[in-house]
Subunit: 517 residues, 2 copies
């Protein structure tokens, strides 16, 4: 397969488009299956303040409690585990959830159908995954419209073609031209068919979660799936402090199959949680702990990812806002707390309220994305594509964000300090008042020295305006995604497996009328 | 004066446009004179690796040395201080410069003519200052052209009108319609006339530095200036390892007057320094230490700012690149090193190679700006306005960057943890499955909760497209800078002072022919 040779893991030093482009202009840029970070996390809160937040989470869990709706089995699991259950309301003594969570792995491998693309989720590893869940798509030519299965496949192809994304994602956009009750089958199939990377399954109903996992079993084999993580399911808390049965049943379906649920509260400060960051963080922490713990009650030792999604609100309009400073800084604290639980972390990716791939989009997007990188997130969903809050996948923004993910490979590589990088030989050779352009040290190191974006303009003004057509980055991105789609080649898929998947879909959909809600 | 009531220093919590706009729509947003950060610096390198870089800097200083050209007095100062001098080449024994630097203050006040606008430079304080030095200006209406004194004044007015900038800057653009030998007089006068904030003087010749300081003496009084810092001078190393006489004479002029020089190497990796980050950092550290130490030899105890400017290079074109990951991450290390010297720090601000205020501009700008914020920079020159590398000041980018500086006020406020922000009362009041929109805690806190940009679009798509005209942020910025300039009111300046300044300029320029280079 195309990138089968690029499996050596490192901190991103060799993952440079510039060098690989030059080395052989006909090959694609090198990528790494995931990043091992070489910079520490950015820990902004003191031990004393972390304890205050943990204690508040304990009080929320023990004094206020969490409702588990429409899932009697979940309630039974909580009773057996010793929680205080009163109808749908479950309360947890301080320390109880921490104890349950000890069985969850701190790190695990999610296998891809191409083993060279398998990702390690946890520890100092970082996995970039495309955005998830928007009903709309947009591009500069056709503007905004509802997403279709063709758009869905296109975004998978763009993700697969980027050396800077590591994962195929899940509901990369909603393919609204496919019936709701059959959509999950075509989404999972598309991920398997058009990508050889790891992917996510459905969570919108327990049977759809089961179908997703069954398709993974066809691809990987039943025994393998029982012993290894091959599919993720992203489940949301119904904040504040409610777990809906649809979500807990899907969560339990993934855990039961030894697959990883990603547990994510979505807290819009002032609406689904307190308007102050510390309280929203405490709530998020409590809600996620409860969801993660439930996976362990369903199947001890099942992999699970500790997620969070903080958001702010425009005080003028009441609209949710994204890429703002408060959620960015709050995510850093969530990271500190998750590490104390020794669970893999998912944090906020790249968000903006902008409706265009403009300056606002990239500023808000990077504010949010860097926060995810700094807070130590292991799995960064929504790494590429979002515009209009969570509502639209933009073709241009997708390739701009993927290019940014490339830059973050270099960022996460940090500053390497050794005799070569300290360059004492260069100082002795060059001396004062000269230049380093041709010195031995430069010749030895220049090809791997700097991130070289394929989208950014670095030309002199005259060249940009006369030869380059005075383009902005969105215009260049528009050209790039079209070129990438035109050149896309599907990774080979075993014919028998392909047929078995198609047969599974046929059996699951035969004689079933389409449902559209 | 307009903001005289806004002098209480805090961490930015009250510095929110949203709240103040609502409180009284007719008043300007509140600003703080500078930020006291409430988040730690982001220290990415281990003690062991910091020591390796310091030792390399020691070796550069003692084995390679630094040339001091065209300034025999500087050479004499080094001889007296015990450095090894061989012609123009000066070598420093390890520890020598550290010892000299002990007399430099860790923090100092730069006074503004409006005392409420004075800034504290050092410690955990952060001062945002506009970009500096570009020959071109640009806007969406007229494109790129050479800057004029009208542009110069316009940018001062825009800076003065922003609550999120703290300083008036220096050569905010080159006013090329004013003769080179008289330009500094009109630049310094414009800062004094159109802003009541702290500012920077000329460094392009010793007599221009002296003139700048003399004008500050007219404004503040000679005795006051001798005892207090009222003007900064930004001097550049001629990297690698050369200090030019023009710079050291200006540097010494500022120090002699007890004013602060900002000492800045400009290292384009692979050209003026090694292509690897660790070596470039060591060089930058060595060059800055030498410059800072020279201020102390000129006048022990004079304030001085430890600066740095790392840049990368496009491997395809050889062009310098800005806002890239390597300099961003390298600046964090510079910050760690500067703190070990206990000197105030200046770091890279907001840069991009883009020729338009587009997605590239804001992504690269924020990557660089956040690095300055994270690395602990006390004085962030180039906080607003740059496009096209260092070559152009953009009217739109200026107001977009100033808005970003507003967001960074909230970012630097961090997460406040106390009984109010932990919001336990809200959880007890609201409980599971409800919402926080009208609860007591929200009503008590919402006005100060979230950063509210005046440029970002947070409307629903339909409202944005139908009522908002589907604008991008650059278009909104274009409207904003025009409105701001139209509404600008000059801060009152004492008439006698104004006349004395005009008289000074008249005396300095009378019968002097214009020189244009």
């Amino acid at each position: 397969m195309a990138l089968a040779e690029d499996t050596t893991l490192d901190t991103g030093r060799r993952a440079r488009g510039g060098r690989s482009n030059r080395r052989d202009a006909s090959t694609k840029p090198l990528g790494v299956p995931y990043i091992r970070r070489n910079i520490p996390t950015y820990d902004i809160l003191s031990e004393e303040n972390l304890l205050k937040i943990e204690r508040t989470a304990d009080r929320i869990l023990s004094e206020v409690g969490i409702e588990f709706r429409d899932d009697p089995e979940a309630i039974e699991l909580w009773k057996k585990a010793g929680a205080k259950v009163d109808g749908l309301l479950v309360k947890f003594e301080p320390g109880m959830l921490n104890e349950i969570l000890k069985s969850a792995p701190a790190s695990f491998t999610q296998h891809a159908r191409n083993p060279a693309r398998s990702v390690e989720i946890g520890g100092s590893n970082v996995v970039f995954s495309p955005a998830y869940g928007s009903p709309f798509v947009m591009d500069l030519d056709k503007g905004r419209r509802y997403g279709t299965i063709e758009d869905f496949r296109n975004f998978i192809k763009l993700a697969q073609s980027s050396p800077w994304l590591h994962h195929s994602g899940g509901t990369i956009c909603e393919p609204v031209d496919v019936a709701v009750n059959k959509r999950h089958l075509h989404m999972v199939y598309s991920h398997i068919k058009y990508s050889d990377r790891a992917f996510m399954g459905s969570i919108t109903a327990e049977e759809r979660a089961d179908d997703s996992i069954d398709m993974a079993r066809i691809l990987f084999g039943t025994d393998f799936v029982d012993r290894n993580c091959v599919i993720l399911g992203n489940v949301n808390v119904n904040s504040p402090l409610v777990w809906d049965g649809t979500m807990t049943k899907s969560l339990r379906a993934y855990a039961r199959a030894n697959q990883a649920a990603v547990i994510v509260p979505f807290i819009l400060g002032g609406a689904m949680g307190p308007v102050t960051n510390a309280g929203a963080i405490a709530q998020s922490f409590a809600e996620t702990m409860a969801g993660c713990a439930l996976t362990q009650l369903e199947r001890k030792g099942a992999p699970v990812i500790f997620g969070n999604f903080l958001s702010s609100m425009s005080l003028r309009s009441g609209s949710p806002t994204f890429g703002t400073p408060e959620p960015a800084i709050g995510s850093m604290v969530i990271g500190q707390l998750a590490r104390r639980l020794k669970l893999p972390l998912r944090c906020a990716g790249n968000f903006s309220n902008s409706k265009l791939p403009d300056g606002q989009a990239m500023q808000e997007g990077l504010m949010s994305m860097l926060s995810a990188v700094h807070c130590g997130a292991n799995f960064i969903l929504h790494s590429a594509g979002f515009l209009d809050g969570l509502l639209a996948m933009s073709y241009e923004k997708f390739v701009m964000d993927a290019d940014l993910c490339g830059a973050l490979h270099s960022y996460l590589a940090g500053v390497v300090v050794d005799d070569n990088t300290l360059a004492m030989d260069a100082f002795l050779q060059v001396g004062p008042g000269s230049h380093f352009l041709g010195c031995d040290h430069t010749m030895r190191n220049y090809t791997s020295a700097f991130w070289d974006s394929t989208l950014s303009d670095n030309e002199p003004f005259e060249k940009w305006s006369e030869e380059g057509g005075s383009t902005d980055i969105a215009t260049r991105a528009n050209r790039q995604w079209k070129k990438t789609l035109a050149e896309y080649e599907a990774p080979p898929l075993d014919v028998a497996t392909d047929d078995a998947l198609k047969d599974f879909i046929e059996r699951k959909t035969r004689d079933i009328p389409d449902a559209w809600y």
